[in-house]
């Protein structure tokens, strides 16, 4: 029998059809995909003895407790710590993947001068020259650390200025600091004792403050309850995640928060719902209703609801003084469940403005958020672990990455209680990186070293004999015989929490109702929070999932 070309084609067709009924295509597909994952140039995770250590996330100032899984002394996994009194096991998606950040392609690994490779020697010479020629300004993003103390000392010795770059949450406390003369870093929100929270667009359930602090409170006292223990009233133009989950939502015209605050204040005063009798806003209720697109009755109902279940605290999304003035009117400043003052140990620091005049050199610590760009003619020396893009500094200096340096952590911004923790350096830093404090120590060896400053802080805590240390178990500070023992415990991942906030320890007085100042809008909040770079896993979790909504989606 002669085999024709037609027979070959038909036989091949039969074979192709038959092949689909075998494991060949499916198995080959799987094996080839695995083969591509194991190409020799693809980096492999380290293998070695595994262990777990407790520490704290240093990506932002929240200082969440973390359990770091190490393989061959290299961090390979991160989880939350349920015994942490603030976060109670919660972590943000970035924190879960923070250990990957040290290998990010945008990691700064060498000194850059105007984008060109330089050296530490040249950077130091340029810095010393600039300091000798004119004033120095040092910007710090996380005041209250041992490194902050060192930066401040250096600035003081050189007749320079030390300024603090406030995060978004702390900026909401600025009006109270202005009115009372108390430093912003000493103030906080006592959400734990509040029964009603009136939020003017603050994204309380969408990443506001330390992860877990408010979300846990809300889930325990509010979620799914018709008459919850904790009432969250969200005043917001868009239907954000917080607005959707809130007990009540008040939809107003975007940008009319100050008008609504004035309207609510007017009702509170006119109906004698608060003890104070002034200051009366100039804006009438009808005007407030007109600006906010609400009815006067709706504003009246809101004002009555707010005072129905006290203590009540008002939270703004920014430093809007008109919104902040409501807290003064409601008597919740320096009161339980309101704006409180922590037992302070940090002297008030000047807040930094982007415009920096009369400086010859500006040193920007790695803790300053990347989006803060100093507007100055001075020579800018910026420390950073990752390059967030742009051209914001003359000198870009490689700083230690995640868990690559020993650092201490004061309480999170807006926290009601004083706290202190120590984050160990669990990862080995690349050879060419230095923190700002290490850099300054090379210039002035008389400055105190970080280890000594941390021990000094532990001695201060021990002297007060107040508060407790939360580690494997909760221990009163009085149980520690020496500062060294306390420091050892803190280095093992424990956290010290001080006494409850001091009530009535400061006063805010308003002679007249504040007029609104230009502030950033709600849509900017989440975008401003985004860090300079994202680790691969966080990109997946954080960007592609709907864990954090983008402003465009929120307004859709």
């Amino acid at each position: 029998m002669k085999v024709s070309r037609r027979d070959l084609l038909i036989g091949t067709s039969g074979a192709a059809a038959g092949l689909l009924l075998t494991p060949v295509p499916w198995k080959l597909l799987g094996d080839v995909s695995i083969w591509t994952q194991n190409w020799p140039w693809i980096p492999e995770p380290v293998h070695g003895p595994a262990e777990s250590k407790h520490s704290f996330c240093t990506l932002c100032s929240s200082g969440c407790g973390i359990r770091v899984r190490l393989a061959a002394n290299c961090p390979v996994g991160i989880a939350g710590v349920s015994t942490n009194p603030v976060t109670r096991g919660a972590l943000c998606p970035l924190g879960f993947a923070a250990h990957q950040m040290n290998w990010h392609p945008q990691r700064i690994r060498e000194v850059l001068h105007h984008g060109r490779a330089s050296s530490w020697t040249e950077a130091q010479a340029a810095f010393e020259k600039a300091c000798s020629e004119g004033p120095l300004a040092i910007l710090d993003g996380r005041p209250g650390r041992a490194a902050s103390s060192l930066l401040k000392t250096f600035a003081g010795e050189r007749n320079g200025s030390y300024r603090v770059v406030l995060d978004k949450e702390s900026q909401t406390l600025e009006p109270y600091a202005t009115w009372s003369g108390v430093s912003v870093t000493e103030l906080g929100y006592d959400f734990e004792n509040a029964r009603t929270i009136l939020s003017f667009g603050a994204p309380l359930l969408d990443g506001w403050g330390p992860p877990g602090r408010f979300t846990r409170l809300w889930s325990e006292r509010s979620a799914g309850q018709e008459d919850p223990q904790l009432r969250l009233i969200q005043v917001e133009a868009s239907l954000s995640r917080t607005a959707r989950a809130a007990w009540r939502r008040v939809a107003l015209h975007e940008g009319s928060e100050a008008a609504l605050a004035a309207g609510v204040a007017r009702v509170l005063l006119e109906e004698h719902l608060v003890a104070l009798q002034r200051p009366l806003p100039q804006m009438s209720l009808a005007e407030a209703a007109s600006q906010t697109c609400l009815t006067p009755d709706a504003i009246r109902v809101l004002a009555r609801t707010v005072v129905e279940n006290r203590p009540v605290v008002v939270v703004a999304q920014d430093g809007n003084p008109a919104v902040a003035a409501l807290n003064v009117l409601l008597g919740t400043v320096a009161a339980s469940g309101g704006i409180v003052r922590k037992a302070a140990h940090v002297a008030p620091d000047a807040a930094a403005e982007p415009q920096i005049d009369s400086a010859r050199a500006v040193l920007v610590d790695a803790s300053v958020p990347w989006e803060f760009v100093p507007q100055t003619d001075a020579e800018v020396f910026r420390f950073a672990a990752w390059d967030g893009g742009g051209n914001s500094a003359d000198w870009l200096l490689p700083a230690p990455g995640f868990l690559e340096e020993l650092t201490d952590l004061p309480e999170a911004p807006t926290s009601a209680a004083e706290m202190y923790a120590i984050a160990q350096n669990l990862a080995v830093a690349p050879a060419n990186v230095k923190s700002a404090s290490q850099f300054l120590l090379q210039i002035d060896s008389t400055l105190p070293v970080i280890e000594k400053l941390i021990l000094t802080r532990c001695e201060e805590i021990l002297r007060t004999r107040q508060g407790s240390v939360y580690g494997e178990k909760q221990l009163a500070v009085t149980n520690f015989g020496s500062a060294q023992k306390l420091e050892e415990e803190l280095r093992r991942g424990a956290v010290w929490v001080g006494e409850p906030p001091r009530l009535g320890s400061f006063r805010c007085e308003l002679k007249e109702w504040p007029t609104e100042i230009p502030v950033s809008r709600a849509a900017d909040w989440t975008t401003a929070w985004v860090p300079p770079v994202l680790p691969p896993l966080a990109t997946k979790l954080y960007q592609e999932s709907n864990l954090r909504e983008k402003p465009a989606r929120r307004n859709a």
Partner: protein, 194 residues
């Protein structure tokens, strides 16, 4: 028309037979372990009745895996028999302090983190739930390595179709997921992948 059907059927049958019979044999390369090892002899004659007697956990709960040559040397410092394997063990490995390059049947890829302690101590699983009755084997099985992926055949399982398998046959991610689902234990991606 009839000729067309016959030719189609020949091609079809050839492909099906090749796919189900020849392909599995061709896909895996068969390797022999460097030494004969009798689990049964060790459990019956040497009194190591528990897997953990040799495959121990460290102080921190970490799994030490296959025992090091030092453990073997505890009994085999001198030859205990006249077999060829015994001579190789003592002369080539123990006396020279070299580790035996065992081919590990259940070796997982490096992007997976697995805790034996969690599964045996916390969840109470028996070793045989995943590894089968390995401890009763007379001699080590032939190690089959996938020519493309490089993985042991034990990961995919011995049934190429994965349809009718023994409970312990297969150590793929889907097998882990199935077991977790059966035991109502939820674990996210980060539970195993770093």
């Amino acid at each position: 028309m009839r000729r067309t059907l016959v030719v189609f059927a020949i091609g079809f049958t050839f492909a099906v037979m090749t796919g189900w019979v020849a392909f599995p044999s061709a896909l895996y390369v068969r390797k022999v372990q460097p030494l004969e090892f009798h689990h049964k002899t060790h459990s019956e004659k040497s009194g190591f009745t528990e897997c953990e007697s040799c495959h121990a956990f460290g102080n921190a709960g970490e799994f030490t895996g296959i025992p090091s040559i030092e453990t073997c040397a505890g009994c085999h410092a001198d030859k205990l028999g006249t077999s060829k394997s015994e001579a190789i063990l003592v002369d080539d490995y123990i006396k020279r302090g070299r580790e035996i390059p065992w081919l590990v049947y259940g070796r997982q890829p490096k992007n997976v983190w697995f805790s034996h302690a969690t599964h045996t101590r916390l969840a109470g699983l028996a070793c045989s739930d995943c590894h089968g009755n390995f401890g009763e084997s007379d001699q080590p099985r032939i190690y089959e390595q996938n020519r493309i992926s490089g993985y042991s055949r034990d990961i995919w399982g011995h049934s190429i179709s994965r349809l009718r398998r023994a409970p312990h046959d297969g150590m793929k991610m889907s097998d882990c997921e199935d077991c977790h689902r059966r035991h109502h234990v939820e674990v996210g991606c980060l539970g195993c992948h770093e």
